[in-house]
Amino acid sequence: MRDLFRGELVRFTLEEPETRAKAEIRWQHDTEFHRLADGDAARLTSEKKIKEWSEKQAEGFQPERYSFSIRTLAEDKFIGFVGMWVDLIHGEAWVGLGIGEREFWSKGYGTDMMKLCLQYAFTELCVERVSLGLHEYNPRALKSYEKCGFRLEGRTRKDVMREGKRYDSLWMGLLRAEWSQMQSGDHK
């Protein structure tokens, strides 16, 4: 059996709003995680609000929006999330991911998550390219995305200010043909 939602280290799940809320109120206090995942200012949201929000999100299906929770295969532990936003007209998907449980950083989990996203975007959503953005101060993410086949396509200069310094935003992209070639090659 082939399971599109299962990688080598992680699998996609849909967690109950309560489980998500409990984890996310913990993660929002890890400011380094926030800095890496998001360009906005850190904010606190109550467990109740997060629960309501994820309940609402689970309600309706939108062909533009796909999000999944992530569990490890080994421990069956909920560690993070991925999201895909599809530009239906032009056949492009924007992808974003986060690993809230920091003991799972730097061990290949993010790369595995991204590979599952790419497979989903190219084979299920049938998009022609996948795009993402990241902060210049997140070289670990850059390396992981490069491993997945993304190419650096451009940057917005000095648009983010963190701790008194300005940083660039980086934009990466992967085309279907490039991804397909990797699937047939030794990358698989």
Binding site: P63, E64, L88, I89
Partner: protein
């Protein structure tokens, strides 16, 4: 100025529930029109309830559904209705429904022109891969019109309808983007001028 919503005889305009519901209610008193358009039993609806339904549909408008009214270029007269439903985004396929409610405008190329405009929108604007429609066996005029626009017969549901004491097929027709591009020699999709199309990289 190039208007992707304008054809040779008609243009597509935005759906105005108030105007459209009145026309729609009047058109639907014509049972022949109903037979050609719908497989369901003919019902009578008030303009008010139709307007309410249309307003709701428009409110929920998404990238997946498009409603247009069809107006003549010569008189700017509302003569028909047109809708496009993207049923499958990964496959990029949509269903089209077309009706010319004003019978004076039957058999004069208005429907074909409207479908040509719609195909240009479907392929050159929202980048679909195919467009599908169903048409009833007892509507040869529509079938001919769709054939003229480039649709091919893809299959049929046998004995799908029961009308006037006998059963009729419902015919599936479809057109692929490649076919449409070839048939239009790409010319219809050219909205960008030569200078722009060359790229804005300079």
């Amino acid at each position: 100025m190039k208007d992707i919503f304008a054809g040779k005889l008609v243009r597509l305009s935005a759906y105005d529930p108030e105007e459209m519901s009145k026309a729609y209610t009047r058109w639907n008193l014509n049972s022949e029109y109903q037979r050609l358009l719908n497989s369901s039993a003919h019902r009578i609806q008030s303009a008010k309830s139709v307007a309410k339904w249309m307003e709701k549909e428009i409110e929920e408008l998404s990238l997946a559904s498009y409603f247009f009214s069809i107006r003549t270029l010569a008189e700017d007269k509302l003569i028909g209705e047109l809708n496009l439903d993207v049923v499958n985004w990964p496959g990029r396929d949509a269903f089209v429904g077309l009706g010319i409610g004003e019978t004076d405008y039957w058999n004069k190329g208005y429907g074909t022109d409207a479908i040509n405009v719609l195909l240009r929108f479907a392929f050159a604007e929202i980048n679909l891969r195919r467009v599908t429609l169903t048409v009833f066996e007892y509507n040869p005029r529509a079938i001919r019109s769709y054939e003229k626009a480039g649709f091919r017969h893809e299959g049929h549901l046998r004995d799908y309808l029961n009308r006037e004491g006998r059963r009729w097929n419902s015919v599936y027709m479809g057109i692929l983007r490649e076919e449409w591009m070839e048939q239009n020699n790409n010319a219809q999709s050219a909205i960008l001028g030569a200078g722009n199309a060359a790229g804005d990289g300079g």
